[in-house]
Amino acid sequence: MAICKPNCVTGLPNFGAVNDCDLQASFSSGEIAQVIFTKCNLEIDDVDDATEWETNITNGDVTVPFAGNGKIDEQTESGEYRVGCQTVSSICKKPFEFVSPVTDTASQTEWDLYNQIQKQRLGLQISFLTCDGILLVNPDWVTGSTIGLPITMLKIAQIFSGETDGKMTYKISGEIAECRSLKRVKLSADTIAILTEANTGS
């Protein structure tokens, strides 16, 4: 039994109508194609401005590791307290995982780039680009504020599976300290091109 608090409801959202004759058209990709690390105090004015992203990459304030495949899992909640006949979690974390088999086969130097990310992890935030070109960012982002999600744990692993014909992979995993749904921003082709091509590590 919980105490009813009608004042907590300030206006429920209206989801509106969908075309239920073509539901597939309403589906979005559940795959992460790239992860994007941003300096934790980097303010982004326009999330869909290719020039701004390019400048930030050039200045070393944004880095985009090689493409791969990743996921963001359901959050885990812990540190529960019983308050007013309701159970309230005080800690909430959302785990993510990203694996890339791409390496720099010309100069063999990508290991150093991953090490640099690992070394600077305390000053980083993360965003995710899905396979349908949608950038997942901080739900509080608005013009002139930081766009990434705070990372509470970041691990970068170089994995040699030892399997027959197996390939070396880099695995980036960790937890973000945000349990609300992430803001989804459909990017223009120009912005996607910068985020997927400009930072090749070369």
């Binding site: 300030t10 206006g11 959202p13 004015d45 869909d48 509080d140 013009t143 002139g144 504020s145 803001k183």
Partner: protein, 58 residues
């Protein structure tokens, strides 16, 4: 075509929307507030376009 001017935290951004869905998307991306407030902004933009269209026929 709609031209939307956003100003948040002293930063100005101009975006163009080609249709009503893009107006909705841009307002949801670049503004903060409740759904009711955002919907009011969307309605304002779309209504102003209708007014402009009507003026053309005057």
């Amino acid at each position: 075509m709609y031209t939307l001017n956003f100003e948040v935290n002293g930063k100005k951004i101009e975006k163009k929307a080609h249709n009503e869905k893009e107006v909705k998307r841009l307002i949801y991306v670049y503004t903060i507030g409740s759904q009711i407030e955002k919907q009011a902004l969307i309605d304002d933009v779309l209504q102003s376009k209708e007014i402009q269209s009507l003026n053309k026929f005057k």
